[in-house]
Symmetry: C2
Subunit: 381 residues, 2 copies
Amino acid sequence: MTLLQGLKILDLTRVMAGPFATALLADLGAEVVKLEPPQGDDYRHIGPFVQGESALFTLMNRGKQSLVLDLKDPAARTTARALALSCDVVVENFRPGVAGRLGLGPDLRDEKPALIYASISGFGQTGPDAHLPAYDLVAQAMSGLMDANGEAGGKPLKVGEALGDLMAGLYAGWAILAALYRRNATGQGATIDVAMFDALFSLLPTGHALQFYAGRAPQRVGNRHPLSTPFGCFTCADGQAVIAVLGDRQWQALCTLIARPDLLADPDLASDAGRTEQEPRVRTAIEAWTGTRQVAAVVAALAEAGIPAARVQTLAEAAASPHAQARRLVTPLPHAVLGQAPTIGQPVWFDGQKPVAPCSAPGLGAHTAALLARIQARHDH
Amino acid sequence: MTLLQGLKILDLTRVMAGPFATALLADLGAEVVKLEPPQGDDYRHIGPFVQGESALFTLMNRGKQSLVLDLKDPAARTTARALALSCDVVVENFRPGVAGRLGLGPDLRDEKPALIYASISGFGQTGPDAHLPAYDLVAQAMSGLMDANGEAGGKPLKVGEALGDLMAGLYAGWAILAALYRRNATGQGATIDVAMFDALFSLLPTGHALQFYAGRAPQRVGNRHPLSTPFGCFTCADGQAVIAVLGDRQWQALCTLIARPDLLADPDLASDAGRTEQEPRVRTAIEAWTGTRQVAAVVAALAEAGIPAARVQTLAEAAASPHAQARRLVTPLPHAVLGQAPTIGQPVWFDGQKPVAPCSAPGLGAHTAALLARIQARHDH
């Protein structure tokens, strides 16, 4: 059986954070019914599009069933409520308060205490900023993440992916699974409240150590290491390589490799502190060597010398590597319009298998008739 | 009861990825026994230090018990194995193969099929790159994350936090909890394999959409939005604010707010595409207005006008905000040496509570005697 076989989830979410949470659970075999308004999830209308299908919607909604209901209609709200009460888990990422006004709020648990009800939002269901909109940019800015990211001496930089959404989604799935553990022991469900802001703040331990223990504000360091030098990204003839020299022994190995005994003999560069102070000089010397060599040759020579190094890969290079193929990072899944849809499933291997949903995202309302018939049949019995 | 009450975890992990996974589970009430070598987890020896205690170790090991065993001693290995077989979950983040050589590998499940055995590594337990070291820098470089992060036109940039470690840890906890769901239904445990590389690759959906659907390599955009302008970080009199103008209606509101009817009337700036093309001119106009105002005034005026905006907060500002206080982002926990240790627990609220471990990290071997006595007593019975 799949890991989450028999687990029924009503998915009221849209755009990214909530859909990501439930897609990961669908990969493990949960039955996810995605309730959409007649116009569909907003993400169906966001590009890039292929044959009219939104790539992001397709990626984020693999393995789900689509049920279209117009929740402005009271009869549809009654149907949705009945469906919610027949599930193990309800997930929503409306603005705080909206789900309740639709009759689909956490008070569903008054009727079914075993229900696990999870809300995902920008800033949580409580607190003075709970009303702020769930924009990833805003969550990154306010959480401290942007302040930690960027070049040394540069401006705060948004991370190049919507990490606020993704982290809230991943934590939501984690929390739902933890609540299922307790439900198994006690029969009791849970009301779960996950915020993008809280999630991002919790993921900055390097900054926490400096700020809350050493009493120093963390500084942006770009590709540098706060303590070790040389460390970071170096230009090679055909691309970039990262090199991490951690400690004096690796420094010796590096100087030997690049045939610079003069650097090794220089007392100013004998310690990490000294090398950090003279970073530009160290970098110039290394790039004089890397700049005339291919990335592959640089990485191989450094590995031979016992120094951590790697190619900075584009997404296409990462996906095409023999390792990525062996780890099945990209899975083609059947899709009604696209035929096959490349899918990046959950990344964990269980018992030598990598579980991914059996099919890609559904067409809008593709399962409405079947699901309504099922709900009706349940009602008639 | 706590969410994970009664769940017993043997934690063989060190440094960051594994300890982060188990700390999150300790927050939810799992009993985590951390097995350390006589010299302790390497992280005990990494600064910054306060009163001789490592801040990062303290943050990453809240709520755990410390058991010191020297696994070079065959008798200690027998003890560790007995302990592992008495637990629900074993977590390790050695290099692939090391745990097995210590008699603590996934073949523990031959003896106890219900055991959940989780391995965390840089590149997984299988595949041609499985031997590569689990450096965060290497995982970020090879996964495509670095290539997605950085200024437009700049170099690939490591994200300013060890996201490879943290994501592998968070996914590991998620996978363990999913395996517990199946164990409840079937009695069957699981062998789990989480890689930093796979985890980071799975967290780049914006790039996946471009690369695998639109066939375009994703480009670094810094603080810019790929489609909307103005969007990003703007200099105010006393700091930085992010501003997100999404669509023409918000552009009109912005031009009205900053009293620039000329921009609004300019046909070159009438569309997102036009504004994106003329971004420097748009930025200059906005910063002429923001640059003479305090961040708080800028954010308030934009909110009033219906335009998403926020202060770029340092970690200290984020933690001190009334909202962060209401959401209890930082929890002081009792610590044997430090008295109180500021702790950033798991970020999710359950049933109106925020569960965090009851105490901070243990002293090295603080629980050795008690745990050995318990193992001995179990053996005697």
